[in-house]
């Protein structure tokens, strides 16, 4: 019995042993937060001064000023055009690139460069891509469109490739057995299996592109973002407020449409 008691004490010691590793992790965490906060020069004073300025800032934002609605509408429509064109072209280009990146259909020599391209497109924020295009080909919606096409490929082609890699190869074999050409195999054996998921990616990307299309203007890529940025520069805060409200409204409508689309195509 005493031996058993010793065993129980042993288990108890293990069950409630202080977890030094977790404590070290937490200590490290706290130390990091203090260090990083110091590095970034955060001071309480700056924060308080900021809150003060924030109050006047908010005061100047209201009421929002919709008098220049023509400028507003022009920007929003351009953003919409950028989103639609870039989604259409981006998704279309994602089809072949995603196919090239699918490891169950393509040789390594093809998938590796295709995947590298997708990784490159995914790694950069659309705004960074946009600023590069603006510098290369000049201001305007074309730069924004090209940037968002690039970003769309990074997202859609990746998911598309993953979807293809998950398909059942039996059906592909069956189509191949009928003597179909490669394109025939893709159209008859591969596409039907991934189509429903593809619609999901596409609506998601349309939604995402709509959001980004309102932002590319900040770096000169066309759309409402440019209007927003210059209003900020002029301290025209009531117009800023009007622009923000319009952008949020447009994005929310876009979200509603996207979720309706997903339901219709489920």
């Amino acid at each position: 019995m005493n031996k058993r008691q010793a065993e129980l004490d042993q288990i108890r010691a293990v069950a409630f042993a202080p977890d030094w590793r977790m404590r070290a992790v937490w200590l490290g965490f706290v130390a990091y937060v203090i260090y990083a906060t110091g590095q970034l020069n955060f001071t309480w004073e700056r924060f308080v001064v900021g809150l003060d300025r924030g109050a006047t800032f908010l005061g100047r934002m209201f009421p929002p000023e919709f008098k220049r609605w023509e400028l507003l509408a022009e920007g929003l429509l351009e953003s919409l055009q950028i989103a639609i064109i870039s989604s259409a072209v981006g998704i279309l280009l994602s089809l072949p690139i995603g196919l090239l990146a699918a490891r169950n259909l393509m040789p390594v020599a093809v998938t590796v460069p295709a995947r590298a391209f997708i990784a490159l497109a995914r790694s950069f924020h659309p705004i960074i891509i946009a600023i590069i295009f603006v510098k290369a080909i000049g201001f305007g919606p074309l730069a924004g469109i090209l940037a968002l096409i690039f970003a769309s490929i990074g997202f859609v082609a990746k998911l598309f490739a993953e979807a293809i890699e998950e398909i059942s190869l039996k059906q592909v074999e069956a189509v191949r057995a009928t003597g179909a050409s490669f394109m025939g195999v893709v159209i008859m054996g591969v596409l039907p299996q991934v189509f429903s998921r593809f619609i999901g990616f596409a609506t998601y990307q349309l939604d995402s592109n709509l959001r980004q299309s309102t932002m590319v203007g900040i770096v000169g890529g066309g759309g409402i973002g440019g209007t927003l940025f210059s209003a900020f520069r002029r301290f025209d805060y009531d117009f800023v407020c009007a622009i923000l409200i319009s952008i949020i409204a447009m994005i929310m409508i876009g979200e509603l449409i996207a979720s309706w689309l997903r339901k219709t195509f489920q």
Partner: protein, 271 residues
């Protein structure tokens, strides 16, 4: 073919969709094409720019080569670290704010619809405003620098973290919570021992996922003056120092890829 959906499994009705559904689909296709045609016809693109785009792009890329790596230790490294600090501190701050709001939004925690809807409104508002816009707002408030960037990242992330956290809490199994209630536990004890063990894996997963996104986002903030590597990128571009731009882009690419690998590794261990 194989794409079986919620259509009835058998019976004489072979059609996958009702006529109304089909009609809706064709209407969607039609509207999509019309929207595309309208966009292409109305967008203000100068055709010459379009035809020349690939030349211009190739020209820029040649000017970027070879990347000026000597620029990295002097300027890029510090900015890169600052970017990581902004992403990390912003994520931490967003979690601190998002957890209480997420709990308020979870119907099994707060049984008042008004509170749930109010919390959800905050979460939606946070998500609807892009991080760049948050950055512009906070630059106007706190002045240019990393403080504005960090708070922008935090505010932008509240919606994402809060929404997913609330969903994880709502998915928690009510059984253990019921058992602890029956044992006379107070509500903080219920949160601590009934809910937290259940949502913990989801919580870490959400936090890591958002951090990964924030590393990407914080690289941009500098373009509007909110600190980090974006500022260095902006300066280099304004002075047409393309080889330096290449170095910066390379640095961003490396960090983003490393962050993604790190997150996947940690998630594998956690789950």
């Amino acid at each position: 073919m194989s794409v079986t959906t919620n259509s009835p499994p058998s019976g004489p009705n072979w059609q996958r969709f009702t006529p109304a559904q089909r009609l809706a689909r064709y209407a969607v296709y039609l509207v999509a094409v019309m929207a595309l045609v309208w966009s292409v016809r109305n967008v203000s693109i100068i055709p010459e720019f379009l035809y020349d785009a690939h030349n211009q792009m190739a020209d820029l890329l040649t000017r970027m080569w070879p990347p000026d790596l000597s620029y990295y230790p002097t300027t890029v490294h510090g900015a890169l670290i600052e970017t990581l600090h902004i992403a990390t501190l912003g994520t931490i701050l967003s979690i601190v704010m998002a957890v209480p709001i997420g709990l308020m939004a979870a119907r099994n925690i707060v049984p008042f619809r008004v509170v749930n809807e109010f919390a959800k409104l905050i979460l939606v508002a946070s998500r609807s405003v892009n991080s760049l816009v948050w950055a512009l707002l906070f630059v106007a408030i706190f002045g240019p620098g990393a403080l504005a960037g960090t708070i922008a990242i935090a505010f932008r992330s509240i919606g994402f973290v809060g929404k997913l956290f609330a969903e994880a809490v709502e998915e928690a199994s009510p059984g253990p919570v019921e058992a602890l209630t029956a044992a006379g536990a107070s509500w903080p004890a219920l949160l601590l021992k009934g809910y937290w063990p259940q949502v913990q894996p989801a919580f870490w997963s959400i936090a890591l996922f958002r951090w990964d996104i924030n590393v990407r986002e914080s690289a941009v903030l500098g373009l509007v003056g909110a600190g980090g590597i974006g500022l260095v990128l902006d300066t280099a571009m304004n002075f047409f120092q393309w080889t330096r731009v290449a170095t910066i882009l390379l640095a961003i690419f490396t960090v983003v890829v490393l962050a993604e690998i790190l997150v996947t590794q940690i998630r594998k261990r956690l789950i």
